[in-house]
């Protein structure tokens, strides 16, 4: 009995060790760094808020996504508006122009207007999407599933030992954000996830009018679970084999005793 318990304890101990190694340390900084095993924040700017938001004026907040690992890495971000700027009167009636850029690539913004919900989402001549409007939850509309949502979205694939800048831009509507919003406050929260990928690059050289033309395609393959992956499973199979051996030895000893 004691040997069976020992085998089970051994396996459980391994499971706990594997799980603990995967969580990153908590932080509240704005440079997000992946080092191959963990994802951490570091401080570039001590400000933890967007200050002096003004009607018609763009406010920005940026995150440096840094990949210090040896593999290309997908960075994901989840966003949640906890509280829109709270007006002194009870009804919300302003909107916000919101853009999310990774480098110069638009992650969120410049989409086509939805005629069925013009008050919550509309295209704009600039790159942002107008979120909110009269009688809505204003900036909290960003949390809706058909807007930005609160689940993880892929924001950038960063090459090894490289970085990119993720920029959030928010502009309170110039006419809707009136005196009721003076000195008002709100809150948002973000969370990041990193996942290594394997780039597959294929280069084709063709000839057009006797001039060589090089076409390069790069695809990213997620390094996920695959059937028969020997590298990860091997140590655990070893543990299983040891457990089986212990059971067999214990069983034989018990049979001898009974005899």
């Amino acid at each position: 009995m004691m040997k069976r318990i020992s085998a089970l304890v051994l396996v459980l101990g391994l499971a706990c060790t594997s799980a603990l190694g995967c969580f990153a340390a908590d932080g509240s900084d704005i440079s997000v760094t992946y080092n191959g095993s963990s994802l951490k924040y570091s401080v570039n700017n001590p400000a933890d808020s967007i200050q002096d938001m003004t009607p018609g004026v763009e406010s920005t907040y940026s995150f440096d996504l840094v990949n210090n690992s040896g593999a290309s890495t997908n960075f994901y971000m989840s966003t949640e508006v906890l509280q829109t700027l709270t007006a002194k009167d009870t009804e919300g009636d302003t909107g916000y122009l919101v853009t999310l850029l990774a480098g110069d690539q638009v992650i969120f913004g410049n989409n086509v207007a939805d005629p069925d919900s013009a008050t919550t989402r509309a295209a704009n001549a600039e790159e942002g999407i107008l979120v909110g409007g009269q009688g809505t939850d204003e900036l909290e509309v960003l949390n809706e599933e058909d807007v930005l949502g609160t689940d993880y979205i892929l924001v950038s694939t960063v090459d090894p030992n490289s970085s990119t800048t993720l920029t959030l831009k928010i502009t309170p509507n110039a006419t809707g954000t009136d005196d009721a919003y003076l000195a008002s406050t709100g809150a948002m929260q973000f969370q990041f996830m990193a996942e290594e990928v394997t780039p597959l690059t294929r280069t084709d050289v063709t000839t057009i009018r006797n001039e060589p033309k090089v076409i390069t395609q790069t695809r990213y393959i997620l390094t996920g679970v695959q059937t028969g992956d020997p590298v990860v499973v091997a140590p655990l199979i070893g543990v299983l084999a040891l457990a089986i051996l212990l059971f067999i030895i214990a069983g034989k000893k018990k049979n001898k005793k009974e005899e």
């Binding site: 396996v11 967007i50 003004t54 006419t175 954000t177 005196d179 406050t185 969370q191 679970v225």
Partner: protein, 227 residues
Amino acid sequence: MKRRYILLAVTAALVFAVAAGGTLAAQRVESGVLSLGLNAANLSVAWQGEGSVESDSEDITIHDVNLMPDDTYEFAANDVNYSVLNSEGNGNMDAYIRVTVTKYWCEDQNGQQKDADMDASLITLESEGNWTTAEDPFAGRTKSETQVFYYKTPLAPGETTSRLLESMTLSKDAGNEYSNRSIRLEAVAEAVQFVQGDNELNKQAILSAWGVYAELDGEGNITSISN
């Protein structure tokens, strides 16, 4: 024997569950949650009189001045020593300033008993040079109790305007019924955000808040105001 095989099966299931979960977890890592506050700017203006006292409203009171019809009284520096402050403690925005002055005739000498039936348009105020007024398309055809003055230069927090009034003129049309009466002036200051380098936004803000059209120079200073 049966128990042994059951135990073996449970162990195998546990090991492979760990293998699958551990493999997934090892490829994907999460960060902690980052919180970000949102803070709107604040705008606050106040009167600044003698002793730099901030107040919500101010009465401009001048004693021992006798005006005759067609007289102009030049305010001395210590007569009207009030200016508008863009409050640094309460506000953190650059702002355009305007002051609306309402004129009253009063029955008493102390300016306490207002007489709304008397013609306040007989009193004309002139502002100091850094202020301007809107072009009035109905000038001479209406009798207005108010005059509105716009400070030409936007103020940063902590800055003050120059003093508001330079002179006051009593119309030659003021008859004997205006004798032995006092004039009361009530001034209210307002502010609108100013954004450096974005005159289109500044014009829109002035129009939205004050209902007037502003012409601005390259630095954002007001050059003219029209209704």
